[in-house]
């Protein structure tokens, strides 16, 4: 069976859920091989987790440069492994960095790049959802090794036993003339909340929330549901909530089981980032707000009445 390479996304030895989704998708195409790119010692920390999601092989591309330069060490590692393993496909997460890795790798391998897939099929084709979910598309690479970026959360991760046989990959030294040096990192401190693109429930607030302080109402509801917090661009631009939580065309695309919109009008650019959610609930005091056109359940009312009451109800039901 042909190998399918998966780029491992990890922070300090903790593997992201989206990597398990990649390993699951890889198994529909062939044998899953995980490629770990990191500082020396990283592979040892992540190997067990990769094995439990069916990684048959684990390629260790470790060097001090791996974390000191942007994107290129990952491209170098994948290109090196692809050169020796002739994989059926290469899968990466469709994050900002993953899409860049995929694009550069496609140039190096002379292959096709399939962006932001929501599903991978056994025949090598992928499903995509474009224009904010208004169109579904099935596409296939026409030449070379297909490089696929898979949207986090789109495929459900399933455990499987993998041998996780380790193989070392030599990384070329990074060249500052062709790569940007990383001089510092400030990782997102998400606290205890799930990551926006990985959460099964997202509670978002819009301009209707009115201030940064009052966003607490949104956060409290989110915490009662175990949800991530999102925001509209108007809320971000008004300084109510940080930019990395923006949902929409120029923010994150989310596809959770449940999306709760509080004080969001439902502009087309906001919808583009959330309308593929399974269930949408909206609270807005304007009965004419377009968000109601796509909501499965809508409450016409003041979010400062409805959201706290809902928070209490959820707490009660949890007992």
């Amino acid at each position: 069976m042909a190998e399918v390479l998966v780029l491992v996304d990890q922070v300090d030895g903790e593997v992201k859920k989206s990597t398990f989704e990649l390993l699951t998708a890889a198994r529909t195409l062939g044998e899953a091989s995980a490629v770990v790119v990191g500082t020396p010692g990283t592979t040892g920390k992540v190997k067990d987790a990769l094995a439990s999601y069916g990684a048959a092989k684990v390629y260790a591309a470790e060097s001090d440069d791996a974390a000191a330069y942007l994107v290129t060490p990952k491209v170098d590692a994948l290109a090196a492994v692809a050169g020796q393993a002739s994989p059926a496909a290469v899968l990466v997460s469709a994050t900002a960095e993953g899409k860049e890795v995929a694009g550069r790798l496609a140039i190096r391998l002379g292959g096709g790049v399939l962006v932001d897939a929501v599903g991978v099929n056994a025949d090598g084709s992928v499903d995509q959802s474009i224009f904010g979910g208004a169109f579904s598309v099935k596409a296939k690479a026409a030449k070379g090794t297909p490089v696929v970026s898979l949207r986090p959360g789109a495929v459900e991760a399933e455990q499987a036993d993998g041998a996780a046989a380790e193989e070392t990959v030599a990384l070329p030294a990074a060249d500052a003339a062709t790569s940007a040096k990383v001089t510092g990192v400030e990782p997102v401190v998400g606290g205890d909340r799930p990551e926006l693109t990985e959460a099964s429930i997202v509670v978002s607030g819009g301009r209707g929330v009115g201030s940064a302080e009052k966003f607490e109402v949104v956060e409290k509801l989110a915490d009662s549901l175990g949800a991530a917090v999102g925001a509209s661009r108007a809320a971000v631009d008004s300084g109510y909530y940080p930019a990395q939580f923006q949902v929409g065309q120029t923010g994150k695309t989310v596809s959770p089981q449940l999306y709760v919109a509080l004080g969001i009008s439902g502009a087309i650019q906001h919808r583009a980032g959330m309308q593929t959610s399974k269930t949408i609930v909206a609270v807005n005091k304007d009965a004419e707000a377009p968000i109601f056109e796509i909501a499965d359940f809508g409450v016409v009312g003041d979010l400062f009445d409805v959201a706290p009451q809902l928070t209490d109800e959820v707490a009660k039901r949890k007992g």
Partner: protein, 261 residues
């Protein structure tokens, strides 16, 4: 003297309905109003700021059909100096790999560029990778998703912001930068700027002028093929209730009925 090339793309206005052509599944660019992609105005703004802080020339680079001249004029009226417009029927249906190669080829028309600035993600394709792919082809550093940028001499520093957080980057020119929508507020063109833009040089070129392999271009050269495309049925509005003091309770009942809580 910093020579800056700014990539500008004309996209369907997101306020209008976007469609795919039924015949070949490419973007139906006729069906929607076209505007300059908002993110590109921020790229132009950043280039103008660098120019104004020192010395330099700003060249607009645009790959797109004839009517993309509106986007080019907008950038020129903001203050860019000149433009190169790659317009060629052969480009219709080109994928990301081909687009990146054409842009790289067109940069050859910008004498000794030091810096390429693009938007981080187009609102129509959402590939988010063209600037990185361009850096790959050119063999220069990529400093992408910049929410802040500073240039001292030939040292470029960028604060990159993505879902992973903020990464501080540093590299020497020449380099490729992409900017996020948080980088600046683009200026409005002045009346003077609009008038001046009419006289600024726009060089129109075809792919034959760029030394790009035509076999890589358009639908026939695409490295990926769309097999099927279908509009999704629009979402229908569901149940709606007025809050009579029990809106939260009713919502909880709905969610529990859906087994969501």
């Amino acid at each position: 003297m910093t020579n800056i090339a700014v990539l500008v793309k004309q996209v369907p206005d997101t306020y209008s309905e976007r469609k795919l052509n039924e015949s070949d599944h490419t973007l139906d660019r006729e069906s929607a109003d076209a505007v300059i992609d908002e993110i590109n105005e921020r790229a132009v703004e950043e280039a103008l700021k660098i120019k104004e802080a020192g010395e330099g020339e700003v060249t607009v680079l645009c790959v797109g059909p004839d009517r993309a001249t509106d986007a080019i004029r907008k950038a020129l009226s903001m203050g860019a100096d000149k433009a190169v417009h790659v317009s060629d029927e052969a480009l219709q249906g080109s994928d990301m790999v081909a687009t990146a190669k054409v842009i790289a080829g067109a940069l050859g028309k910008v004498d000794g560029y030091d810096l390429v600035i693009a938007g981080n993600e187009a609102s129509d394709g959402r590939g988010g990778a063209i600037p990185a792919m361009l850096a790959e082809i050119l063999g220069v550093p990529q400093l992408t998703h910049a929410r802040e940028l500073s240039l001292e001499g030939t040292t470029l520093k960028v604060d990159r912001e993505t879902e992973d957080g903020v990464t501080h980057l540093e590299a020497n020119l020449p380099a490729v930068v992409s900017v996020t929508e948080k980088i600046n507020e683009p200026r409005y063109p002045s009346f003077k700027g609009i008038m001046a833009a009419k006289k600024k040089p726009v060089e129109t070129v075809t792919v034959a002028d760029l030394g790009v392999d035509a076999g890589d271009l358009g639908l026939p050269g695409a490295s990926s093929t769309v097999l099927e495309a279908a509009p999704k049925p629009p979402r229908a509005a569901g149940e709606r209730v007025d809050d009579d003091g029990d809106g939260g309770v009713k919502t909880a009942e709905y969610l529990s009925g859906q087994k969501l809580i």
